[in-house]
Amino acid sequence: MTALAQTPALTAAAYKSDYRPVWCPGCGHYSVLSSLTKALAELGLQRENVAVISGIGCSSRIPAYTSVYGFHSVHGRALPVATGLKVARPDLTVVVAGGDGDGYSIGGNHFLHACRRNVDLTYLVMDNQVYGMTKGQASPTTPADWDRSKLTPHGTGVSPFHPLAVALAAGANFIARCYAGDPNGTARVITEAVRHPGFSMVQILSQCVTYQPSQKEWKTTVRKADVTTTRDAVRAARWLMADDGLSTGVLYIGHRPIYRPELQASCSVDDLESGFVV
C-alpha cells in the first residue's frame, strides 16, 4: 500500500462527462472508461492538460464520455491526429483510443509508423475482435474460424493480426495487454503506460457481448502473463509469438529515444511569403 504525500486533486468521477454511454449493457468498454478515469485521477492530471483522441467505432466514442479535451476523429486516423497534437503541444498528455478494426485495419499503416516514430503517446486499443458499430463483421483480430457473420459464413480463413508482436517489431516503447474484466489492474497499466516516455501500446481485451458473446468466457480464460516485464526485445518477441493472446501484463518496456520535432521556427512568415512573390 502506498500512502502518497499528496492526494490527487480530482477523483476519477471528475474525469467523466455527463453524457450517458450508448454502449450495450455488458460491454467491456464501460470498464475501460472507468480504468481510464481512474488512471487520470491517479496521475493527478488537470483536465485541461489531457486530450483523448479517437477514430471511429463503438470504442471511439470514449472521448465524449470524458471531461478532458477530446477529438472523435476520422476512421483509422486517430494516431495521425494525436501525433500532430502531441508534437504541436508536447505539454499535453495525449491518450489515443479506439478499436481493433479502426486501429489495425484502416488505421494499420498509421499504427506501424506511430510505433516507429515513438512520439510520446499512449494508445489504448479496445480489442473485441469484431466491428461492432456496423453490426458484426470480422476485424483483423477475429479468429480465422469465426463464422457468425454472413460476410464470412465459413470463417475468415485468415490468420488474425498479432498487434503486440507487430508493435514490438515496429518499435513501440511500452507494450502491455489488459482485460476489461480487471478494471483496477487496467487502470494501473494505463497509469504506467502514460508515465513511460514514448509510444505506449496497450491492448485491452474488451468483450463485445452482442456480436462476440463467447468472449464472456474471457472471465475464466484470461490470466496474468507467466513472465516478468522485459527490456529485451528479442525475449519479448519470443514470448509474444508463443502466446495465445489471453495473457495480461506489461510485457515489454523499451528505452528508445522519443521523437520530438524542432519546434523553433526555422524561418519567418515573411521569409515564406517572399518565396511566393512573383
Binding site: 450517458r20 450508448v22 464501460y30 453490426k135 458484426g136 457473420s149 483496477n184 464472456k216
Partner: protein, 177 residues
Amino acid sequence: MTDDVKDANRIDSVELFLAHALTLENEAADGYQEIGDSMAVHNNPEVAGLFLQMCKYGRMHADEVRELATGLDLPHIPPWEYSWEDGESPESASMDKMHYMMQPAQALALAMKAERQAHAFYAGVAASTANPRVRELAQQFAAEESEHVRLLGEWIAKYPPADDNWDYDPDPPAMPE
C-alpha cells in the same frame, strides 16, 4: 484465502478502514448509476429505475462514511492497492452480467450478490483486525449490509421470476450481415 493473504489484507487502522469503506460505497453507487443509465438508454425503464434507486442508497451510505471520517486524514490508496479479495471493489455489480432486456428479478439478484459481497468484506475485516474500533465499525457496517440483503430479499419477492424467454427480442440488434 490463505492465512498469509489474510494477514496481508488486514486492516488495522480506522483511517485505512474508512478509506476502504468510502471507496466501496462510492464505487457501488457509481456502478449502479452506470447500469441504471445504460438501462435507461436501452429503453428498459423499470430496471433502470431499480438500479438508480440502489445508486441513491449507495450515495447515502457514502455520505455516512464521509461523516464518520470527518477530521481524519484518510490515506490515498491507488485503485489497484486496495485490500479487495479479487482486486475489485466488492459491492460493484458486475457489468458483464447485464443484458438490455433483463427483468427486475434478475437485476435485484445481481444487486443482492453485490450486497452479500460487501457484507463478506466487512465481516472479514471485523474477524481479522487487531483494532477494536475498526472491529466495531466493521461489525456495524456488516450488520447494515445484512439489513440491505434482507430488504432486497423482500423486494425480490414482490417480482415474479424472469420469464423463460426473457431475452427474446423480435427485432434484435445482433443481426450480423
